[in-house]
């Protein structure tokens, strides 16, 4: 459970970073003239669209991890427990990716940042603007769904993490808790429609970076360290669900 809590916190803190891009969208969705409840509903629909995409990506990444791990079948026994080499490689790759993403949050690895964000995302975002003002109930949902696919280092980081879990369910849960973590800030952006003070945003970004860095190190550790030495699967209660 702790694991998912950390993910949730990372999502929550990271969403302050998201305010730059996705927050703009949330503001763009604006208020519904039919009142506060309608506005809230509009933003909930938008966010569930986003969440669906995240969950889908998580489950897909988890299933992918599962395929990679079971196909290899190079399990051997070490210190009384079975270790899968593919599992470890996956964990190392995911861990390194997460650490790199985390470093971006502290303003490092800018070239990598450009690579991940400048992936044609802005063109897509521009073209999706027509959805923001459309008055249909479905429009915020559709917008949320596409928004979820916009290139974002946070999403990449957690998708990598989801893949390293090696199963569809924990992958899904990882992304779900991350997605839920982004809810409060995004709802607030939509509801309040006011940009937070820059200092707050900076703190949020650092907190998010810290969480991702922590998760990245744990994941990397799972790949590198001998089994049971430091981070057994049970420590963070990941598979408790």
């Amino acid at each position: 459970m702790t694991y998912y809590l950390v993910t949730f916190v990372a999502g929550f803190a990271g969403s302050f970073h998201c305010i730059g891009m996705c927050g703009g969208f949330a503001c763009g969705l604006g208020r519904d003239p039919r009142g506060y409840a309608a506005t809230m509903l509009r933003h909930l629909i938008y966010n569930s669209g986003r969440l669906t995409t995240y969950c889908f990506l998580g489950a897909l990444a988890g299933a992918f991890g599962q395929i990679v791990c079971t196909r290899q079948g190079t399990t051997f026994t070490l210190l009384g427990g079975s270790v899968d080499i593919a599992d470890r490689i996956l964990a190392i790759v995911a861990g390194v990716l997460m650490i790199m993403m985390a470093l971006q949050f502290f303003g490092l690895l800018q070239a990598f940042h450009r690579l991940t964000v400048g992936f044609g995302g802005s063109t897509l975002a521009m073209s999706l603007r027509s959805l923001m003002t459309a008055r249909s109930r479905g429009a915020p949902l559709a917008f949320g769904v596409f928004n979820g696919f916009l290139p974002c280092p946070l999403v990449y980081a957690f998708a990598a993490e989801a893949a390293s879990t090696g199963q569809a369910l924990p992958g899904f849960l990882t992304m779900a808790s991350f997605g839920l973590g982004t809810f409060p800030a995004m709802l607030m952006m939509g509801g309040v429609g006011r940009i937070l003070a820059p200092s707050w945003r900076r703190h949020g970004v650092w907190l998010a970076g810290g969480c991702i860095l922590l998760l990245g190190i744990i994941t990397l550790g799972r790949g590198i360290l001998p089994l049971g030495a430091l981070m057994p699967h049970g420590l963070l209660g990941r598979h408790a669900a």
Partner: protein
């Protein structure tokens, strides 16, 4: 929906063919070649206030939302989450999936179903039919299974196949639009509006309303839409589209500008000197559009393959289901049949050729090289023999004075009198005489009552009596005898291929002016570059042998055939055709028209005259012969890309089809694989964007554009004259 085989897709600018899709976007009636283009166009250009564009995105978004939820549940089911005690949840989840899948299938599958039905009523079976059949099989089977509470459902297959195909078509269309970016200015020219200054007020007017004398405003970064003269402002312009040469040329008040050139720096006001639709630029644009609409032989082959493939795949799919149903449960066998249907969608095959060829044509057109016909580009890539006409092709078609033989008068006197006559002449040889006098600082002696004698020369009067410049017949007509020494000089000059002008006044002929054509600059480098590409080269000319040999030797071509009539040229070309390899003829497009038509590829150089009358399938700009090696490179690259695409598309389809028939491919994976294959074909074609630009010419930098005006205006008349001489 009407068949509109003659138009281009609004989005990717490929010909729409018979399978066109008509839609209203932003209040404008648009035609698209496929579903993907319609999505991509609306995503890119749909205006916020237009309901239709937003509605399309909403539909896709909701479809994606539903199918992702279905996939999510299915992944969890496959991952073994609902086993053991949780297994009792399964029937409820199945019903939930049915509820989610039904709208998803309707939303995402609608366009595919519509295409199938529309084409079906026209008697065509398209690849959409395969998707529709595969998806409905998976959906109907699963729906029945839910009602009967059977074990396994495949809603994820039905919806994800639709999702992936929609995504694939969108990505493919988005990639194609990148190719269209090159062609866009060429095709937009006819629709373009220009800013006209009327009574001091700027008014936007459509191109077709532009007439001579109008003042047109051109901003920096804009394309100049009219031929004309600058009346205000100064700038540098890039005339690559017309001259083939991409370099900034300084322009000032009074400099002529050509339609199609790019204004790079300053704000210009241009006085148009003709109608907006009569410029060479407008003709280039029309010609490119015509070329794109024609289908190449290789393209037709691809289309035929698709026509045959679809029924074949249906049969194969039925066989697969029948075969596997004997040994496996029916649902597994059905899934394999669906995989066969989905994986065999021959979209990539249909896409293999047109994208690459339009990229190639667009690339060439941007440097002023027109390909009138896609087939010509294909043939050009296979050409092994290039035959050149001499005059106006390997030579500039600009005569210059090389010798003046006189009998007891001074050269200065001859030139002064000849120039005085010839300055009234439009004849190219005459202009060479005027230039020669000017170069030597000799002022012309003005003559009165100057008149041209057709086919003979020019005659006028000075104080000493009649003065004439022209051929021998003119001298005889005017009873101006030629001294034996002078006649011998003239015969010698003519024998070596020079053109000759006799100049006589008073009682006899006093001088013989010999003129020769100049070989093109950069010619030798061009010939060597062509030879390095494995081409055999020949010169086939109607000119005299000595002149032909002189030019050929200067350029380094050994195979020379001189003194040929147009029919002889054709025969000579056929003799040189070793096997069934295509041969190309390069000429000026006027006096060698018949040969250009007969050759597999006729290449005309520098005909600024009406392009519509051209007989050649490839037209190069004035002085564009140096681009020939580059053009061959582009043609070969295009052909290589098309072949690689076809090989890839066919090979990929065959391998995937076999795997699917053997039951080794999941339908969802098959759909992803298929969508990926089309995207790969697009990406492979887009590699053509990275072809190198043509090498810049070795000519010194042009500063003013007076030279441009000359080279555009006069190229041909003189060439013909030299041959007669």
């Amino acid at each position: 929906m009407t068949p509109s085989g003659g138009s281009l897709c609004h989005h990717c600018l490929l010909p729409v063919g018979v399978r066109s899709l008509h839609q209203t976007v932003n209040g404008e009636s648009c035609v698209f070649c496929c579903y993907g283009c319609s999505i991509a166009f609306q995503v890119k250009n749909g205006k916020t206030e237009e309901w239709e564009a937003a509605w399309l995105l909403i539909r896709l978004g909701i479809g994606a939302f539903l199918s992702m939820n279905i996939m999510l549940f299915s992944l969890l089911i496959y991952g073994g989450v609902f086993t053991g005690a949780d297994a009792r949840m399964l029937p409820i989840i199945d019903i939930l999936l049915l509820i989610l899948a039904t709208p998803a299938v309707i939303i995402l599958g609608g366009p595919f179903l519509r295409e199938t039905l529309v084409e079906g009523t026209r008697g065509h079976l398209t690849s959409s039919a395969l998707i529709v059949l595969g998806v409905s099989a998976a959906y109907i089977y699963s729906a029945v299974a839910v009602i009967e509470s059977n074990a396994q459902v495949y809603f994820d297959t039905a919806t994800m196949v639709l999702m992936l195909f929609t995504l694939g078509r969108y990505l493919e269309a988005a990639g194609r639009a990148r190719a269209a970016r090159d062609l866009e200015p060429l095709l937009a020219a006819e629709r373009e509006n220009v800013v006209v200054l009327q009574n001091g007020i700027e008014v936007v007017r459509p191109m077709r309303e532009i007439e001579a004398g109008m003042l047109v405003r051109v901003r920096p970064g804009e394309r100049i839409a009219v031929d004309g003269v600058i009346v205000e402002g100064m700038s540098r312009v890039d005339e690559a589209v017309i001259t083939g040469e991409s370099r900034p040329i300084e322009k000032d008040i009074g400099s002529p500008v050509i339609a199609g050139s790019m204004n790079m720096e300053g704000l210009l006001l241009i006085r148009s000197n003709g109608s907006g639709t009569a410029t060479r630029w407008a003709q280039i644009c029309r010609s490119v559009r015509d070329a794109l609409i024609r289908r190449s032989p290789i393209q037709r082959l691809g289309d035929q393959a698709v026509t045959i493939a679809v029924p074949g795949v249906l049969v194969l799919s039925a066989l697969t289901v029948t075969y596997w149903a004997q040994s496996l449960p029916f649902d597994r066998a059905l899934l394999m049949g669906v995989a066969v249907l989905v994986v065999a969608c021959p979209c990539a095959v249909g896409l293999a050729a047109p994208l690459a060829t339009s990229l190639g044509i667009g690339r060439l057109a941007r440097h002023g090289c027109l390909v009138r016909d896609v087939g010509a580009l294909e043939a050009l890539a296979r050409v092994r023999l290039l035959a050149f006409d001499k005059t106006g092709t390997l030579t500039l078609g600009k005569a210059r004075v090389v010798a003046i033989d006189t009998a007891d008068v001074s050269i200065a006197e001859v030139l002064a009198l000849a120039a005085g006559l010839e300055r009234h002449s439009e004849h190219g040889l005459g202009r060479a005489v005027v230039n020669a006098a000017a170069e030597r600082g000799i002022g012309p002696i003005l003559a009165r009552n100057v008149r041209a004698v057709p086919g003979r020369g020019i005659v006028g009067h000075i104080d000493a009596g009649t003065v004439a410049a022209g051929n021998l017949a003119l001298m005889r007509d005017l009873s101006l005898p030629v001294a034996p020494g002078l006649a011998k000089c003239a015969r010698r000059a003519e024998a070596s291929g020079h053109s000759v002008i006799y100049v006589g006044w008073g009682q006899r002929t006093h001088a013989v002016i010999s003129l020769d054509d100049t070989p093109i600059p950069d010619g030798r480098a061009m010939i060597e570059a062509l030879r390095a590409r494995g081409l055999r080269l020949a010169v086939l000319t109607g000119d005299l042998a000595p002149a032909a040999h002189r030019v050929s030797a200067a350029l380094g071509i050994e195979d020379v055939c001189a003194g040929l009539t147009p029919e002889d040229k054709q025969a000579a070309l056929d003799r040189r055709r070793w096997s069934r390899e295509p041969v190309a003829m390069v000429g000026d497009g006027l006096n060698d028209g018949p040969v250009l038509v007969e050759a597999d590829v006729g290449i005309a150089v520098g005909t600024a005259t009406d392009l519509a009358r051209e007989t050649a399938s490839v037209v190069l700009p004035v002085g564009g012969l140096r681009l020939l090696p580059w053009i061959i490179d582009v043609a070969r690259a295009v052909r290589g890309t098309v072949r690689a695409n076809l090989l890839w598309a066919f090979g990929y389809n065959l391998v995937a089809l076999s795997l699917a028939a053997l039951g080794m491919l999941q339908p969802i994976i098959a759909a992803a694989v298929m969508a990926g294959s089309s995207v790969l074909v697009v990406l492979n074609s887009l590699r053509l964007e990275r072809l190198p630009e043509p090498a810049p010419s070795q000519l010194p930098e042009r500063v003013s554009s007076a030279a441009t005006a000359r080279s555009l205006g006069v190229p041909i008349a003189l060439g013909a004259a030299t041959e007669r001489g």
